[in-house]
């Protein structure tokens, strides 16, 4: 393993930007956004430099580490604050800083009319720094710091326009639900320390063989909860839709490309835990499959373009989690889908932002229509992203999603068939709802308001979109050419070179997937292109649509199952505290006061009554002696 002293700059540059902009106050208003963008770009530069260095080394020498300082040194518990940049981290570093920088550039224009633009860029830089710490930390504890950091940045950015109570509530909801996941991560760290005595990735990987499967299963489940919280997976998925309250660049960066994929990173990073705990791994697959369908179904019913895309994100991350749950064969595909998704989903979100920019912040797709002519560049970039997410060859999604479907089928037995069918069905539904978004937004008739003047966005906005669109087109091909990414990541995962049983030939799977996608597109065309679309969502729809519009009852479920009983519990606890604990204390006090005021009657100041009491005492004494003697 190589050591380096430049890893820290990856994090330090954006962190310094955040600190400067937040502490500098109003006087950095004029140039703050430029500084933040420059720092993010320079962080990207450091990342590229590290990649070139890494490529120049042999496979064993590629991971780079840097020890920052002794962090915790208590008895047997020793944690160094250290950074680790290996083949997995570098993918994330480049994604985060690359997409991050593009979104910084986009935001310069997008947020130009917002008087709090400086604060926005400070938070963006803070997010970049925290996310980099998350992927660069060499122990679960360092990861945890970044994990909380991105949670904080996410909270701050969702609630960026916190003058609207609904947005403030949305940020709080995201924060609280993430807290549940964070509990899982902290429990996982505790389990790791309790059973293995270490929390560093290397240490846990080393100890995993000697640890009982029960402990590893527990740790795996806790890690899964953490991943579910951060990545909006079932059952902690409800916050992502509301998180769209944040500015669109935030949705693109945090809630599509990077932060929400942290769960995938966590599971992939903890591959040594999950490989040794089949039960936890199975749960990962199940969670992934459920979320995949869950997100897809929600996506079919959403009229809000950002929420439709958010549901799609949820679904796509479901794919990744599912792939990560398939074990060593799936990790690389999960990461590949993560990277390609980072490109096309960020691109589509920026496209949505561009549409909103031109449509006076209107988000309802039913008020769009026929925007293709007015926003050709946006249409083109969005369309390329659309083709990528559908998995149409040769766009990026085809390579990554197809591999996941294939791997799912190859999982073996009934499990393989079920997972394969779910992923195939998911692909069809994805095709349906994404086609719906395309049709409603860019084609058909105009449905917008009189005073809307749709126009193409300035170059600062479409340039990042264009770059991301190029990524959407080419990244899949580049990453899978000669199994580039698989081989790149290979040293990290304990890949047993067993000859896999192919349930279906790869070409058959691709054919099936494309057929399903075609069916999805066809249905969408029939439903939305052949007939006029109402500019107000129709109310006389099937009960399933209604349920899907309500995010499949997720909020109501949470409210009924967790919030209400929680409220009952807390009110009960308060009442118990009031009645039992305070009551006990008060009763003790009352007893003291009561006996005091009762006994005060004896203290009447008359010495004769005191003498009478002495006499009574003497009687009692003699009586006691009498009893003893008798």
């Amino acid at each position: 393993m190589t050591t380096s002293t430049s890893l820290v700059y990856l994090i330090a540059l954006p962190l310094a930007g955040a600190a400067l902009l937040l502490l500098g106050g109003r006087r950095t208003d004029k140039w703050g956004h430029l500084l933040a963008t420059a720092l993010s770009a320079s962080s990207f530069g450091v990342g590229v430099y590290q990649l070139t260095q890494m490529l120049g080394r042999s496979t064993e020498e590629r991971p780079v580490s840097q020890k920052l300082f002794d962090w915790i040194n208590v008895g047997a518990f020793n944690v160094d604050a250290g950074l680790l940049l290996d083949q997995l981290s570098i993918c994330f570093v480049l994604l985060i800083t690359g997409v991050g920088t593009l979104i910084h550039i986009y935001s310069i224009s997008y947020m130009s009319h917002d008087q709090d633009r400086r604060r926005f860029f400070a938070f963006l830089n803070l997010f970049i720094a925290a996310m980099l710490l998350l992927v660069l930390g060499d122990s679960y504890l360092s990861l945890y710091v970044g994990w909380e950091g991105v949670g904080l940045a996410s909270y701050l950015l969702i609630g960026f326009w916190n003058q609207k109570p609904a947005y403030a509530t949305a940020s709080k909801k995201a924060f609280v639900m993430n807290r549940v996941g964070d509990m899982g991560l902290s429990f996982a760290i505790m389990i790791a320390f309790a059973t293995m005595g270490t929390v560093s990735f290397a240490g846990v990987a080393e100890q995993a063989e000697n640890t009982s499967e029960a402990a590893l299963t527990g740790m795996g489940i806790m890690l899964l909860i953490a991943a579910a919280g951060k990545s909006a997976q079932f059952p902690l998925q409800a916050w992502l839709g509301d998180a769209m309250a944040g500015p669109t660049p935030v949705s693109a960066l945090i809630h599509a490309a990077t932060m929400v994929t942290a769960g995938v990173y966590l599971i992939t990073r903890s591959n040594f835990v999950f490989d040794a705990a089949p039960t936890a791994q199975l749960l990962v697959v199940i969670v992934g499959a459920i979320t995949l369908m869950f997100g897809a179904l929600i996506g079919t019913a959403k009229d809000d373009i950002k929420k439709a895309l958010a549901a799609s994100t949820m679904s796509q991350i479901g794919y990744m989690i599912l792939a990560a749950g398939l074990g060593p064969v799936g990790y690389a595909f999960a990461i590949m889908h993560l990277l390609t998704h980072g490109f096309f989903k960020a691109g589509m979100f920026l496209g949505a932002g561009s549409v909103m920019h031109g449509m006076d912040d209107e988000v309802n797709m039913r008020k769009y229509g026929a925007l293709r002519k007015f926003m050709p560049i946006t249409f083109a970039t969005f369309g390329l992203g659309y083709l990528a997410i559908l998995g149409v060859p040769p766009f990026a999604g085809f390579y990554s999603k197809d591999m996941i479907i294939e791997t799912a089928f190859n999982a073996g037995g009934v499990k393989g068939i079920i997972l394969g069918s779910v992923t195939l069905l998911g692909a069809a539904i994805t095709a349906f709802y994404m086609t719906r978004v395309m049709i409603l937004t860019f084609t058909g008739t105009k449905r917008w308001d009189e005073n809307a003047h749709p126009h193409e966005s300035p170059w600062l906005m479409w340039l990042p979109m264009a770059i991301l669109a190029i990524g959407s087109v080419s990244s899949g091909f580049l990453l899978s050419r000669g199994d580039a990414l698989v081989n790149w990541l290979h040293p990290l995962f304990d890949h047993h070179e067993e000859h896999e049983q192919h349930l279906l030939e790869p070409i058959v799977v691709s054919g099936l997937a494309l057929t399903m996608v075609a069916i999805g597109i066809a249905i969408a065309f029939v439903k939305y292109s052949r007939q006029d679309v109402a500019s107000v969502a129709p109310e006389d729809v099937s009960v399933f649509t209604k349920i899907a519009r309500q995010d499949l009852m997720q909020d109501r479920f949470n409210e009924t199952v967790f919030m209400r009983p929680g409220q009952v519990l807390t009110t009960t606890l308060v009442a118990t505290d009031e009645v039992v604990i305070d009551g006990t204390v008060r009763t003790v006090g009352k007893i003291a006061m009561g006996s005091g005021s009762a006994l005060r009657g004896l203290q009447n100041g008359f010495v004769r009554s005191y003498a009478a009491l002495i006499l009574l005492g003497a009687v009692a004494l003699v009586a006691a002696i009498w009893v003893v003697v008798q």
Partner: protein
């Protein structure tokens, strides 16, 4: 003649003295009742001395008398002081401890 008869007398006198302390209000009478109780105790000492056949009991009674004399001196001085300040020898009038 059974010497324990003196003990019965002693017990009776002690009890009467105790009642007197509680019942009477004149400080001097209360004081005399206390003296009566001390004397009753002395009688017991003397009687036990006789029953046991040694003089320790009588020495005890002697000490009791000395202590009683001291007590009388101080106690009567207190009564005089109280009387001088509030023109009353009733123990009920000196009840300032009540409040």
């Amino acid at each position: 003649m059974d010497a324990s008869n003196y003990l019965y007398i002693s017990a009776l006198l002690f009890t009467i003295g105790a009642v007197g302390v509680v019942v009477r209000r004149n400080a001097i009478v209360v004081f005399m009742c206390i003296e009566l109780m001390l004397n009753a105790a002395n009688l017991s000492f003397v009687t036990f001395s006789r029953i046991n056949g040694d003089l320790n009991g009588q020495v005890m009674a002697f000490f009791t008398m000395v202590v009683a004399a001291c007590e009388v001196v101080v106690g009567l001085a207190i009564i005089v002081t109280i009387y001088r300040s509030r023109r009353s020898a009733s123990v009920d009038d000196a009840s300032l401890l009540k409040r």
